[in-house]
């Protein structure tokens, strides 16, 4: 059985765990909040401009976090954009090198180098964001500023990223250097730094499998931790960008407050 086969056998389970977490911790609760907000509004009544603005503010530029300061915003934008772009390049790499392999995407060719460049650049952006987050978690521990920190999530994602770079470094160290490999940035630099210990056979396989399992487990973890905000925060913002829903929620809450409580006179 190949390493990729093991990965493919496990991934439906990990994604299942993610969905169960999303259902229990997000969808079931959102359903109640939707219910309190007058349920769905017809498509025709959706304010597309407000929806687009909310998406740009919350997801693209993350202006709400900018209000908390430059460092939290830099940390968050590096992590979220680094993670998102890395995820896209991961899918593209699997698709173009494993499922629909063609000449440009063979090892060392221009398409392959482009994918490696994208993977490594986004991975490095993510790594810098995580290191800032880790430093901030340590320096602000126990203070009011620590309210928004997520140390377990940061350490988990850091392990995923570091094992990914180490696996890639071992892979580059196992083959003779080529001029184009420089486009792989940190992966290639680590390969050169690790060349003295090459070849890595069993250890490369072990680190690769560890990285794949950690990355898959992290996806499952998203639904069961503070990381659920990856899905919930944009949804919530987009939801309340619609005036009709916002007003309906305020009305329901006010009606609830005005209702006489059991036992009151």
């Amino acid at each position: 059985m190949t390493r990729m086969a093991v990965f493919w056998i496990l991934i439906p389970l990990f994604i299942g765990v993610l969905f169960i977490g999303l259902y229990r911790n997000l969808l079931a609760k959102l359903a109640v909040i939707f219910g309190a907000s007058g349920r769905f509004i017809p498509w025709g009544d959706v304010d597309a401009a407000a929806l687009g603005q909310a998406y740009a503010d919350e997801v693209v530029f993350q202006r709400r976090i900018r209000l908390r300061g430059r460092v939290p915003w830099t940390r968050h934008i590096l992590i979220s954009w680094g993670f998102s772009v890395l995820f896209v390049f991961d899918i593209l790499t699997a698709l173009l090198t494993k499922y629909l392999p063609s000449e440009p995407f063979l090892d060392g060719n221009v398409g392959w180098l482009f994918l490696k460049f994208g993977l490594n650049l986004s991975g490095m952006v993510l790594l810098v964001g995580l290191l800032i987050a880790l430093a901030r978690s340590v320096t602000t521990a126990g203070t009011e500023q620590a309210r928004f920190n997520d140390m377990p999530g940061t350490v988990f994602l850091l392990l995923v990223v570091v094992t990914g770079f180490v696996a890639q470094g071992m892979r580059f160290a196992n083959v003779p250097p080529q001029p184009g490999y420089g486009w792989a940035l940190l992966g290639s630099w680590m390969g050169e730094a690790m060349r003295a210990g090459a070849p890595y056979a069993g250890s490369h396989a072990f680190v690769w499998v560890t990285h794949a399992l950690l990355a898959s487990a992290f996806l499952a973890y998203l639904g069961w931790s503070r990381m659920i905000h990856v899905f919930a925060a944009p949804l919530g913002r987009i939801f309340y960008s619609q005036v009709a829903l916002r007003e309906a929620k305020v009305r329901t809450v006010m009606e609830g407050l005005l209702k006489p409580r059991a036992g009151s006179r």
Binding site: M1, G16, I20, L30, Y99, H229
Partner: protein, 74 residues
């Protein structure tokens, strides 16, 4: 839960799992030993999901909004 949201919960899960099995079969082949293992993994995930959906109690509004505040959704 509204019927539309419940349908979304079912469809999003099953379409994703079917997509994963299809993607995996492009790599491990169809009707191979690894394919049956991928399918078994997806079936176990599906059983767990169905049980989770059927057994998850509906929270009250206070509980739902408390969760959103705790995890900084809004």
């Amino acid at each position: 839960m509204s019927p539309a949201l419940r349908r979304f919960a079912w469809w999003s899960f099953f379409v994703t799992e079917a997509g994963l099995v299809a993607a995996a079969s492009a790599y491990v082949g169809v009707a191979t030993r690894d394919f049956w293992l991928v399918l078994a993994s997806a079936v176990v995930a599906a059983i767990a999901y169905v049980v989770a959906v059927l057994r998850t109690p509906a929270p009250d509004l206070g509980e739902a909004t408390a969760a959103s505040r705790r995890w900084f959704w809004f």
